[in-house]
């Protein structure tokens, strides 16, 4: 089986100067798959900013690394497992977690946090509802299974529902780890003559061609691809983590890389290519779970929980001792050579011989046509909007799948293990402390296919802004980013145009907010039966702050001033078409995403960070989906509501539910001090009300728009997701 095009096959022949063997063909097919080679996106990914003073390791390694001071660093990355999660939701999501965790600890960092951005078709979809519920339950169960057992806290993420994800759920997993500067390892096969050692789980037939499956559209045949999905063993991964870190400390390891997509193939040729060396292995030495496996199957297996490492010649036993202690296989399967070739033998017979560099780094590069307008279905023109009962609209939004509390999901994730979690799931950003340094790391994941489908360029900028706003709202300075680009078939110009525009918008925003991209993942061909998902870039941004008690979302005390930092903002009908109000209440979509002024946005971030870090805010919450009214309702978590008095000429639905960026809700005992900070940063700061016990009331001039006991708001918001999932249990 080969998915190579005739052009690619010709290139293979010219590299080898002969016909490839069956095994070689398999090796080229996976290494040059979209998933491994980024052949459609690479040209455009170069546009992204990747450097700053903090960036120690940028794209191209297993994970990006940034300096956090005090001789410590963090490694982090996001990766998708979309296709496997559709075919087998539980194992697909579980191994997604396992894969990204290995990317982190293969660099020497101990994983300290996981976040997940997951997207499904609507739970109440008449045709797909049952299936979507099963996929959601499977994905959440899989993430919980793997992360909880491995012992890494899952501290946040997002969960979104749109019909475009029917049959193509998105599972994007972010992981972050910490280490000292002198503990960083790279995937390099250096030192001719050094032994190449295979460690961890045995190789089986699972996951063969997973990488190329992830690079194709879904068709009716895909349902037969279940054997392509790997099975995860988080216990094995936990042992592998401890053994790898302990083995690294012996000083006998010179390079290490996990076997993820394309398994043994990818790890051997990439390690050789990075070091400019050759790697020779004999497959008969590879620990195998099944009998009769062919070289092709062994090279392409994506069995989980395996690593390849290169040790210093003569010190292998130090590595073996550690792995023996942890009860894991560790076997020398070959050695580093000086000829630059990946030479694969089976019982001494050469079955493949390919130059490492050409295989790993010379994959075809495509400049796919993108001279079409980005694909969109929604009209530009706004429908006529008549004001309705805002109180009822607010409750409808709070009960909607996107806006409602995701407690049902995150209560299945261990979020407190390792005792670093200062702010777990449910807040604007998650915060974990680094015990050794007095520094904390804030993390936020954001995607918005809705905005991006209306304008990939503006949508991508809004995502970066939102992510940075989330971090700033907890007092953190955004410093670096990772991205997961989930798109349809790049061979269609109108889809490729979405990808290019999103990358360019993201690039501009990441430069503006000074958050270079240190790595990430591209997932293309997210289409089912010819229908593409919305363009769905997902950003993961990390920020730094001093370790301190976190400022959280809920109002804390009665009688405090409620401020809207950044101001109420404004909106017109065109810019209202991507809001949750348009989706949930009007059941329509049109126009453009909210307008963003990046200079102003950045000043708002600086202002809120100063407010938070000066201890001026008792609570803070950034305005996002559902706008001001939803943010107010979400702030009533501890039973304290507010009496809000607006004085706007906007219609109720615009004022309460528009999703303009650059706005943060703050409650404070010292409003003058907050206003002073806002003035210094030249941003608006409106006093909009006072907190009070038990009720949320929103008036405009003399008209009451919203008036509800906070208990009612909470009840609706807290229980909606369980209600939507309930039919599956009947």
């Amino acid at each position: 089986m080969s998915d190579l095009t005739s052009f690619e096959l010709e290139k293979v022949r010219s590299i080898l100067k002969r016909e490839p063997t069956e095994t070689e063909l398999g090796i080229f097919t996976v290494m040059w798959s979209e998933h491994c080679s980024y052949k459609s996106s690479r040209l455009h990914l170069k546009k992204l900013p990747t450097k700053s003073e903090r960036v120690l390791v940028g794209p191209g390694e297993n994970a990006g690394i940034i300096d956090i001071g005090n001789n410590y660093a963090i490694a982090f990355k996001i990766e998708s497992h979309n296709h496997p999660s559709f075919i087998e939701p539980f194992q697909g999501a579980a191994t997604g977690v396992g894969g990204i965790l290995r990317d982190i600890f293969t660099m020497g960092a101990r994983p300290l946090a996981v976040l997940d951005a997951i997207r499904f078709g609507p739970l109440d979809d008449p045709e797909w509802g049952d299936r979507n519920r099963r996929i959601l339950e499977g994905v959440v169960g899989g993430i919980a299974h793997y992360g909880n057992c491995f012992g890494v806290p899952t501290v946040g993420g997002e969960c979104v529902f749109e019909p475009c994800y029917n049959g193509n759920p998105l599972v994007n997993v972010f992981a972050l780890g910490v280490f000292r500067h002198d503990e960083i390892f790279f995937g390099k096969a250096t030192g001719v003559g050094n032994p190449v050692i295979y460690v961890g789980a045995k190789t089986g037939r699972d996951g063969i061609h997973g990488a190329s499956m992830a690079s194709a559209e879904f068709t009716e045949e895909s349902k037969q691809k279940r054997p392509n999905v790997q099975v995860g063993d988080p216990f094995m991964e936990k042992l592998l983590l401890e053994a790898c870190i302990e083995a690294m400390h012996t000083g006998a390891i010179v390079g290490i890389q996990d076997m993820g997509a394309a398994g043994l193939t990818c790890s051997t040729c990439e390690m050789g290519s990075r070091a400019g060396t050759g790697v020779e292995i004999d497959l008969s030495l590879v620990p195998q779970r099944e009998t009769g496996m062919t070289p092709y199957e062994i090279m392409l297996s994506e069995s989980q929980e395996r690593m390849l490492l290169v040790a210093e010649l003569g010190r292998e036993h130090e590595v073996f001792d550690v792995f023996k202690k942890w009860g894991l296989d560790a076997v020398t399967v070959g050695s580093v050579t000086g000829d630059g070739l990946l030479r694969v033998k089976n019982h001494g017979v050469v079955v493949a011989e390919i130059p490492n560099r050409e295989l790993a780094d010379e994959a075809p590069l495509y400049d796919r046509p993108h001279n079409a307008a980005p694909y969109r279905k929604a009209p530009m023109e706004a429908p006529p909007i008549t004001s309705r009962d805002s109180n009822r609209d607010l409750l409808a939004l709070l009960a909607s799948a996107d806006v409602c509390s995701k407690r049902w999901i995150w209560e299945q994730y261990d979020s407190t293990i390792r005792t670093n979690t200062l702010a777990g799931p449910g807040g604007d950003a998650a915060i974990i402390r680094i015990k050794e340094t007095g520094t904390s790391i804030a993390m936020s994941l954001d995607g918005n296919g809705r905005y991006c489908s209306l304008s990939p360029r503006e949508g991508a900028k809004l995502l970066v802004a939102e992510c940075c706003r989330n971090l700033s709202t907890v007092g953190a300075l955004p410093v670096a980013a990772t991205n997961n680009l989930n798109f349809g078939n790049p061979e269609r110009p109108e889809i490729m145009a979405q990808l290019v525009e999103a990358i360019e918008g993201m690039s501009e925003a990441c430069r503006h907010f000074e958050t270079p991209i240190t790595g990430g993942n591209v997932s293309l061909y997210n289409e089912t039966l010819g229908e593409a998902i919305w363009p769905t870039p997902v950003m993961g941004i990390v920020g730094l702050l001093k370790t301190a008690p976190p400022v959280t979302v809920p109002f804390k005390n009665e009688g405090r001033t409620v401020l809207l930092l950044g101001g109420l903002g404004t909106v017109d009908a065109t810019r209202f078409g991507g809001t949750q109000y348009a989706k949930v209440v009007l059941k329509q979509m049109w126009g453009l995403p909210p307008a963003l002024d990046m200079d102003y946005e950045k000043r708002v971030h600086a202002a809120i960070r100063e407010v938070i870090n000066a201890g001026l805010a008792e609570s803070a919450h950034d305005l996002g989906d559902g706008g001001l009214a939803v943010a107010l309702a979400e702030s009533t978590g501890s039973g304290i509501g507010a009496a809000i008095s607006l004085a706007t000429d906007l219609t109720p639905e615009f004022a309460l539910f528009h999703e303009g960026p650059s706005r943060i809700l703050v409650s404070t005992a010292t409003p003058e001090a907050v206003e002073k900070v806002a003035r210094e940063h030249m941003v608006a700061c409106e006093r909009i009300g006072v907190t009070m016990k038990g009720r949320l009331r929103i008036d405009n001039h003399s008209e009451t728009w919203v008036d509800s006991p906070v208990d009612r708001l909470r009840e609706v918001w807290e229980n909606a997701l369980e209600g939507l999932l309930a039919p599956v249990h009947v």
């Binding site: 491995f150 063993d233 216990f235 042992l239 407190t416 293990i417 979690t421 370790t547």
Partner: protein, 224 residues
Amino acid sequence: MKFGVVVFPGSNGDHDSWYAFSHDLGQKAEFIWHDSHSLGDVDAVILPGGFSYGDYLRCGAIAKFSPVMAAVRKFAAGGGLVLGFCNGFQILVESGLLPGALIRNRSLKFVSRMVTLRVETTNTPFTASAKKGQLLHLPVAHGEGCYMADERTLNALEAEDRVVVRYLDNPNGSLRDIAGICNEGRNVMGLMPHPERAADPLIGSADGRVILESLVQSVTAAHA
């Protein structure tokens, strides 16, 4: 005075337990490897949370056969203080050091949240510093924490004042809201919630300290 934290393959709360005793409470603490036949010179043993040996059979079912558990049994029989959190509680139950069983949560789902416990007795080395009726906010994080025992055992536990902590908001369906119990000798205790994850107000609660500190004081008293 020294606290020993047992490490099974798959333990993942070992570091948290070690950190709570060594850093939050300033005590000496060390790890004890699962295939060790001796506990060394520790004064109290902690069985940490996690998924010992993967817990693919029944939680704690494999751990009970490990060499270190033979040493723990001996240590407990001699009156040594043993405290198990979460998977540690499951192992104590599987090992027969505590009665009953811990089965799948009623919800059939892993549950991770803050719960409120009531201290039911201060007549143990693990709660001596607490007040009877004191409420503690501690995190739980488990899939199999539903405490089960036959009526006679439950009645005996209550009659003998061996239910140490109870849930006010039972997260897993445990009978009689039991969150933690001790043995007849009152020197072995297990509980599903995590006091070791609640020893610093920065991470949400310091209510777990009263349990950890009670243990420290009991060990200190034994030394005096």
